[in-house]
Symmetry: C3
Subunit: 460 residues, 3 copies
């Protein structure tokens, strides 16, 4: 350090030196699950789609918690291999019988309309209408969620029982969809929590599904709550939160940030985090990125049966982040794996399907993985020849030898033995089959006693 | 291309660019199993050995289908660590009782004579003859197949029941073997199907066993039929077919072709391909050669329990091709693994033991593996950033989503995601757990739509 | 070789060229188990500790078999992160009741005194004495073994039943420990068997436990017997035997030999080798050192269920040898794994707990592993193209084909096939799933027939 240019005495020690565990206090915040649930419930009723006011209205609500930067790309703009579509906005839709009763009513569920339906206003008999109706015969009480973004179409989704009732109707039906498909913009929200370094963690949730609670509300609410919690904390890494329409949104973001994606060092796509299944982690395309190893470690110690999947090129926006031209270290965290639970993409994915308890648990698993990503580092044993005499330093739990003392001793011995400059704390935790937290805490203790230190600067 | 020196406009596009799947039509040739069986049956009666007219007579028959080049190496020639032996030719052999009845008769089965027996013409009692008789007491109705190529000996093989009958005979027996062991030549047959490149696939079958249907007739007939089928086709690779006596034949061929074995890029030894067992594939010594991976892939998708073996230095001519001084990428394809079925090396390995159906299936599995070896290549995704918009190109099977459409979509997504210049089509098929054929067809489709292309020439 | 400078004709051929199997005759020495047991029994009664006359008295006895070099480091000397402690010597200790009866008596078992107890001579009631008493309530008949080397303390160990009897005593107890804690020296014994090369095998046993038969006497006795057996033999490697106090002894040795530890190419810590459990092998920190592979190979072919453990940084002196600053290729051989059997560190670890039979078996397994380490080498096939004609050399077991002949043939084929300069004999044995001994004997046979040879000298 050049004399006279030193930082002021009050400048905090860089986290990159102390590796204070800044995220761990979030593990004990008691009401976090309730907070996430409340926010998910607040955005649930909005009729979102990939472009239009649904996205904007949702961002308005999320923006009350964190200052979200809004990005809009005009319809028709070329982005990578794609083009920004028209906006879709809808005010009403129904099927009325001859008596004027709304037999199928958008106001009851926005799932009733095929997402991105063109406007319709016609009288027709059921036989004529039938090709425009989507149901799930095997789940006759549920309304399916269907979309038709990139081909001109219209349609109604309804329970199979509703269809059977409709088929019994004699006479003409009034079929109305009051929607607009017009040039506008693609919208996404972005929030950056700046850390000490420019290295970034990407956290991404989709904002394009209408009233589906697990499959988009839960992820949006969890990430907003996480961003809010981080905002008052000093972190080593920077955290970039993206709230964007699936596929077209991440493609737009990647196109806009093509030159800078190299700063993304870790990332998670988050969706379906409110049900009682899983937890599920699908690895990034790389398969051995730190986030993959961290999440696998957390789930291995989660005390429940976790579902650890190799990357496959189908799912949420990890498909785009992990396309071969980017190959970013971004995985997917879920509870139940998408498309494997019966409520998936139906009206049963509602606010009864998610619970505070599960949202809270998801939040904590994510925090634990991010803590590893924040904190993992290589330390070196300063007394590498033979074991150091721990007893002299009163570090060794002696004579008695209860289970905790044994585990404490083993954590010290493992950390000392493997701190040879080639093993990070996560490496050590994996090898010792101990939780990362135990090894990280042990490393702190040993560092305070002068037995471990960061590796020497390799010099110029 | 230098102007004026261009190939004529009618020159076909090199297969190495289009990778047309020239072998796949052979998969549907309906009567191929019958053709192979008929040819195997035709050569079955001949009394073959490692050198002599049995080999020549067999090559005469195979040569009616393809123009086989015949090679002869004189007795006494040094080849690698070996020396070409004398020829063995036999016209008759029998054991007659006092009444003049042929109790054991070479004309009934050429297995009755110890292969390479010296001539004998003696009267002797059973006690004196006994040391020259071989039987299988555990399989008392079967004649064993035994040889004595490199030590002077003579003997008779017979069923244990025949031996017991002989032992009941009182009086002298007339014991005759009318054979000749004289200087001559070692003979093998060779057929080269020239492809566009000098890279070769070696396909090798042994031609040294007498009337054993599965253990030599089946392989000879299958390879001849395959060579015949290839002869009218344009292939990328060249295919070299060898019909040679086991061990001494492949050693002679290797000695004669020592300088050129580097052109062998893939290979299969083929034997015992007509029974209903297996399929069995024994990997080359390398273990991860393309032919090993291709055959393993085919057997994994064969819809039956396959037997995939690591290399071991015992078996057929792969022992020589995979000796450490050559270490060629040559595996062994069989149905039942040799020496594991009770008919092996007995008179029960006859024309009832093999069937058209099994020969046809073996043919198809071999074709599927050769198709991979012909076609596998690396392509690169020309739209590697984000997914390309498949829907716009009407490539994506949309809304409905039946099983086939899903599989089609997944094949496209996998092929695009992994076509990063580091994965071949077989790599992709393995990773996606889809048949090679599906990935190769998908790659063709994507290439036609301009989404994939061969990697750029690295230049001079 | 320069003419005139040749070695005399009577100089023995270096073992490094012949690789005579000098250790294997030790496998058949019949009474070795009895010899080891007798020596273990002889040293059993001595009250050893980490420094003091117990170590010296034990070395006196071991030294009757082999010339052990004794090393002493003065109290207070800094060694690595440690300091040599005072010596501890004890003459008597007891607890007497009011009637003068020795209720607890050091002369009955030296385990009764907390090892390294300070001197005590007081009258006290049981309530006052109670904090200084150690028992195992779950094993009420056994005296535990406890130590307090580095903190000032005193105490008595006794069976829980003895404690209950004591607690029933009314009146004062006379509590006496006649021990001395005074400056002196740390002692260890060392014996070097010089081989043809300076490469060393380290064989280490701890000498710091009092009357525990399996847990120190067995290892000391086995290594002494092994050293004795080696002393008359010519070996390729040098063998360094260490008899040293646990932890502080190996730390002292490492500190004293810091510059030369590179000559340790293989090593074993040996302890608890007399019970009927295991065998157990804990790999060195490297995990793939030759000694690790050799021991794993021996245990795999041991015909019993062996316990093969990855390295972990707890146990005996392998903790020090495998500390990251040294990382020596030293594993731990045991029968039952330490701390897993109920007799461990109790008075039940006595001479009834170990047996000649088990000591002999341990000896033989160790010899087998050392034989591999002595003998393993790379040979090259001099006839690598095709198989050499084994029949001509009368090496091939022919026609008949019993099981042994097949195994013999396979051993030859494997050895020839893999002797390509990249596989050692152990590599070949592992790949062929045959015992090392079979492959090594086969390699000798093939070498004698001129089919294998050491690789050519790479030259200057």
């Amino acid at each position: 350090m050049i004399p006279g240019l030193a930082h002021s005495a009050t400048a905090p020690t860089p986290l990159s030196e102390t590796r204070e565990r800044v995220l761990r206090p979030l593990l004990t915040s008691r009401d976090i699950g309730e907070d996430i649930y409340a926010l998910a419930a607040e955005i649930f009723p909005i009729c979102r789609s990939i472009a239009g006011d649904g996205v904007r209205d949702t961002l308005d609500i999320l923006g009350r918690h964190i200052p979200i930067e809004r990005h809009e790309i005009p319809t028709g703009t070329k982005i990578l291999d794609w083009e920004v579509p028209k906006e879709w906005n809808i005010t009403d839709a129904f099927i009325k019988n001859a008596a004027g009763d709304r037999i199928v009513d958008f106001r009851r569920s926005n799932l009733h309309v095929l997402n991105y339906s063109q406007p319709v206003s016609r009288k027709m008999r059921i036989a004529e209408l039938r090709p425009y109706i989507f149901t799930i015969p095997d789940q006759p009480d549920l309304i399916p969620y269907r979309t038709s973004y990139y081909s001109n179409n219209w349609g109604f989704c309804m329970s199979h029982r509703q269809l059977m009732a409709l088929e019994a109707v004699d006479g003409e039906l009034e079929v109305v969809i009051e929607s607009k498909l017009e040039p506008g913009a693609l919208t996404w929200g972005e929030y950056l929590h700046k850390g000490e370094t420019a290295d970034e963690v990407l956290l991404s949730a989709h904002i394009c599904h209408p009233s589906l609670a697990n499959d988009n509300c839960s992820g949006l609410a969890l990430l907003t709550t996480l961003a809010d919690a981080l905002s008052s904390r000093r972190t080593r890494l920077s955290y970039r939160f993206l709230f964007l329409p699936g596929t077209i949104g991440s493609i737009a973001w990647l196109a806009a940030n093509d030159a800078n994606v190299g700063r993304i060092k870790h990332g998670l796509v988050v969706s379906c985090v409110g049900d009682d299944g899983g937890p599920t982690y699908k690895k990034s395309r790389r398969g051995d990125a730190l986030i993959d190893r961290a999440m696998a470690h957390v789930l291995r110690h989660a005390g429940t049966t976790a579902n650890l999947l190799d990357f496959f090129p189908y799912g949420y926006d990890e498909r785009q982040y992990c396309s071969p031209g980017y190959d970013l270290p971004v995985g997917l965290f879920q509870r139940s794996q998408f498309a494997t639970f019966p409520e998936y993409h139906t009206s049963a994915d509602n606010l009864d399907f998610i619970a505070s308890e599960h949202l809270g648990a998801s939040f904590r698993w994510i925090i634990e993985a991010l803590d590893i990503v924040e904190t993992d580092r290589v330390l070196v044993n300063l007394s590498p020849k033979g074991e150091p005499q721990l007893g002299r330093r009163e570090l060794y739990a002696g004579n008695g030898g209860d289970k905790d003392a044994q585990s404490h001793n083993m954590a010290m011995l493992w950390t000392l033995n493997l701190s040879d400059g080639r093993h990070s704390l996560l490496d050590i935790a994996e090898r010792a089959r101990l939780p990362f937290d135990v090894i990280a805490a042990t490393a702190d203790l040993l560092e305070r006693h002068g037995l471990l230190a960061p590796p020497p600067d390799p010099g110029p």
